[in-house]
Amino acid sequence: MKVDKISISFGAELGDAVREAAHQSGKGLSGWLAEAASAKLRAEALDDFFAQWESRHGQFTEGEIEQATQSLQLPQHSRRERSAS
């Protein structure tokens, strides 16, 4: 696999937290950061997908989200929490 080496800078506190989390995960610093970056990219892609979809087809109603949430047996979100997500 081709590897891209990137030099990055963190504030000291965040750097310590990242090192500790990477150590705890047993994945190593590069592996942990790569996984975090991948998750961030996926989250942004999902935001784009839902924004595009809702702009074309209309925003989901509270009822639709509640029904979907119940079906998945997930905790219910309030309207305020939903708009913040």
């Binding site: 999902l46 595009q52 109603t61 979907a68 997500s85």
Partner: protein, 151 residues
Amino acid sequence: VSALLIDAGALRAVEQGNRAVIARLRAAQMNGLELRTTGVVLAEIWRGERPQSLIRELFRGIDVMPLDQALARKAGELQGKTGTYDVAAAALVALARPGDRIVTDDERRYTALVAASGVNSADLLDAVNDEFGRRMSASPDHHGANAATGT
């Protein structure tokens, strides 16, 4: 983090604009669940017509797990126990961890595999059936969704 595991039927339902299924993905995202599938499921999708560009955008947001040796072994064992030949379904069940949910339009495809995995099917399977699709299609903002897409 728990995940919503998506099968090919559910992805096709998304492509067809099924609001009920897309609402599930949105609800999962809002709850911090990863949307996850396997490369085998994507192979099922690419077997048909080229997916629309919006769906390819969705693929970028899904954690696609490779069928590596460990997953292949679990999937193979599940097929062996159940006498089934459905690598995509078996791999998805094998991928499931506690707290995960599988969203599908075809519950029957998974029933035996889930039972063989030792998990209560009600805890793992979220079947988007005809009844749910009809109920959602009655909502004011619904644009012609049809939950049953077949796989």
